[in-house]
């Protein structure tokens, strides 16, 4: 957007005057199909992060021969699908201008609860449902202290974070347990091969997991399907229902929303419940996928930070009033690709976090510039 020296400064974002040689409309006409697509993508709120994520993916596919393989896609899934689900929930709280720091702790404690319920003799699916209802209660308590008592959400959910992480250490005695119905069993079967015209039977090991485990996180694409389903449903709720409208209203102007008759407390509590439920769901999915439940508060806290990062990277404001669920999914995808790509590049394990940190800062700087370009496109 450099101005020609001596010209009165044009407002930033105004279309630059056409370069010499060719009337403006002719040039625009020539560029229009491609320009229109770019314009459409960039006009989306998630536009800039989509571009940056594609650039990062392109970089890794050029740098490594293994990035663009289906095997790597499967490796990538657990790096982003769980974060996408949790980020989808936390977006609803962040649009309100609040924060939920207890999602990592909810993620940590819920599979232990599921384990207790299942080992106490409850069937698996009811055990999952009861564990998720307990998560809703956690969200209700968070929402109660924020919306009714009036404690800042940062402090209220920090208290919940420590409480739940402590609780998971108490109930587990600090030792991991096996996730119910999620153990891999192996059977040997004989498969007939034809070798030099001779039929030979050779033993082959086949892994089995239960149908329950396959649905709740154990299947290869299980978490991806959950993530896509949760993201689609919650984006629809956010964009096309009163729930979403009131969420934005409360986050944008709490007093104004209340004056217009929006029940601010109800909206706040409801969103905290939603957020805690997504965290608990991911806790169960991950425990089933791993086959064990680990009492690891440090890991849970890292997940909390990555989830919030995914939401913010995806375009949700920490100050509230604006955010998208699809953006959070792409933010999670961005973090997953970065993590996975750096590993594929053979980055030394000790350097991984270091490079990951630098790459996040670099990519987000790029994001700001893409956003500026986007605003220019939007007005032009």
């Amino acid at each position: 957007m450099a101005n020609v020296a001596g010209e009165p400064a044009a407002a930033p974002g105004q279309p630059t005057p056409p370069a010499a040689g060719g009337p403006a409309h002719a040039r625009r006409g020539l560029l229009s199909p491609r320009g229109e697509l770019a314009q459409r993508v960039l006009a989306l709120r998630e536009g800039s992060i989509i571009v940056v994520t594609l650039l990062v993916a392109l970089y890794f596919s050029l740098q490594t021969s293994t990035f663009l393989t289906s095997a790597n896609f499967k490796t990538l899934l657990p790096y982003f699908a769980p974060f996408a689900i949790m980020a989808a929930g936390v977006v609803f709280v962040m649009i309100l201008g609040e924060i939920d720091l207890s999602i990592g702790a909810t993620y940590l404690v819920t599979p232990f609860l599921f384990y207790k319920l299942a080992t106490a003799g409850l069937p698996l699916v009811p055990a999952v449902v009861l564990a998720l209802i307990a998560c809703m209660a956690v969200g209700l308590v968070n929402g109660f202290f924020v919306a009714i008592v009036g404690i800042s959400s940062f402090v209220a959910t920090l208290g919940m974070l420590f409480t739940l992480e402590g609780l998971s250490l108490i109930v587990s005695h600090g030792t991991p347990v096996n996730t119910p119905a999620s153990q891999v069993s192996q059977t040997t079967r004989y498969v007939t091969h034809v070798v030099n015209g001779v039929h030979v039977q050779l033993p082959e090991t086949v892994n089995h997991i239960s149908t329950f485990a396959r649905i709740f996180g154990g299947g290869t694409y299980s978490e991806l399907i959950w993530a896509l389903a949760v993201v689609i449903v919650l984006q629809i709720v956010l964009t096309f229902t009163r729930w979403g409208l009131y969420t934005v209203a409360v986050g944008s102007n709490k007093l104004g929303a209340a004056e217009a008759g929006v029940r601010v407390r109800l909206v706040t509590i409801r969103n905290f419940i939603l957020c805690a439920t997504t965290a608990g769901l991911v806790g169960i999915l991950e425990a089933v996928r791993a086959g064990s439940v680990q009492p690891d508060p440090a890991g849970a806290n890292e997940i909390l930070l990555k989830v919030i990062a995914a939401a913010v990277i995806g375009g949700t404001l920490m100050t509230g009033g604006s955010g998208t669920v699809v953006g959070a999914l792409i933010g999670a995808l961005f973090l997953g690709i970065l993590n996975d790509g750096l590993i594929l590049q053979g980055v030394n394990a000790n350097y991984l976090l270091f490079y990951l940190g630098l790459a996040i800062i670099l990519a987000m700087t790029l994001n700001v510039y893409v956003q500026r370009a986007r605003r220019g496109v939007g007005r032009g």
Partner: protein
């Protein structure tokens, strides 16, 4: 206190009329040590435009917020169409046919013009919970055209509009409802002369149609005399004057305020010495 005689003086007979749509009787409200309303009684007749005057901090906005269900009075009663009226929420008041333009407009910056116009009265695709955005856009366009407010695009966020346009949308939101009582808290505050006169024309038109009754807070006495049938002035938390506009003048209204200043100064000097 020295002015202890004032409330007794005002709590004398509550003036009423047979066609009152709204009656407020002896309403008081305190915020901690601050007394916002000491003893306020007023009535609003059907089809009438009542101007509510008073100094800054006199309690005008508090009274509006009590009538519209946003706050609850400490004591006193209200009657709506002759029946006892005690709204527990803004929705309650709305169900009773009362809509409000707040001093702060209560607009949501991040939401579009039409979502703001229909906030809390959204159209949905029944029985599905999805917003009927197209229907709301059409209705919003129609409502704004009817009022004569020029908003070029109704799908932009209201954050991008000028102060006057925002105010116009807040007024349109109220007028566009089914309400028969409108409470307008300084509807001309952010407006230029042209937009302001448009709102005054709108009020005049509504008065002419006679369907709604309007309680309006204004600061400009010329506007008050032009737009209102009657004025009530709050002073020290009580109604100090209640007169048809035909029987008062800018001079009289100014005189009251000047006297109030004089008394306040004497009190301040007396307290200091």
């Amino acid at each position: 206190m020295a002015e202890a005689t004032i409330p007794r003086q005002a709590s004398a007979p509550v003036s009423t009329a047979p066609d009152d749509v709204l009656r407020v009787e002896h309403v008081a409200k305190r915020f901690g040590p601050v007394t916002a309303l000491r003893d306020v009684s007023l009535h609003l007749r059907k089809g009438e435009v009542l101007g509510l005057l008073g100094d800054n901090g006199a309690g005008k906005s508090t009274l509006i917020k009590i009538i519209c269900g946003f706050q609850k009075q400490d004591s006193g009663r209200m009657f709506l169409h002759g029946r006892p009226y005690a709204p527990r929420s803004v929705d309650d008041a709305r169900a009773g046919g009362i809509e409000t333009v707040y001093q702060d407009l209560a607009l949501i910056d991040e939401l579009s013009v039409y979502h703001n116009l229909f906030l809390r009265r959204e159209h949905v695709h029944r029985p599905l919970p999805f917003l009927a955005n197209r229907r709301m856009k059409l209705a919003a366009r129609q409502a704004l055209d009817e009022i004569g407010i020029n908003i070029p695009r109704i799908d932009v966020a209201v954050a991008r509009l000028s102060g006057g346009q925002r105010q116009a949308i807040a007024v349109a939101r109220t007028v566009n409802s089914q309400a028969d009582i409108l409470l307008l808290d300084e509807p001309l505050a952010a407006m230029g002369a042209k937009e302001g006169s448009m709102i005054l024309d709108l009020v005049a038109r509504l008065k002419h149609e006679g369907r709604v009754s309007i309680l309006m807070i204004l600061h400009n006495y010329v506007h008050v005399l032009e737009a209102c049938d009657r004025v009530s002035m709050i002073e020290n938390g009580v109604i100090a004057l209640d007169k048809p506009t035909a029987e008062t003048s800018v001079e009289e209204l100014t005189e009251i305020v000047v006297n109030e200043y004089r008394r306040a100064r004497q009190r301040a000097q007396g307290g200091g010495g």
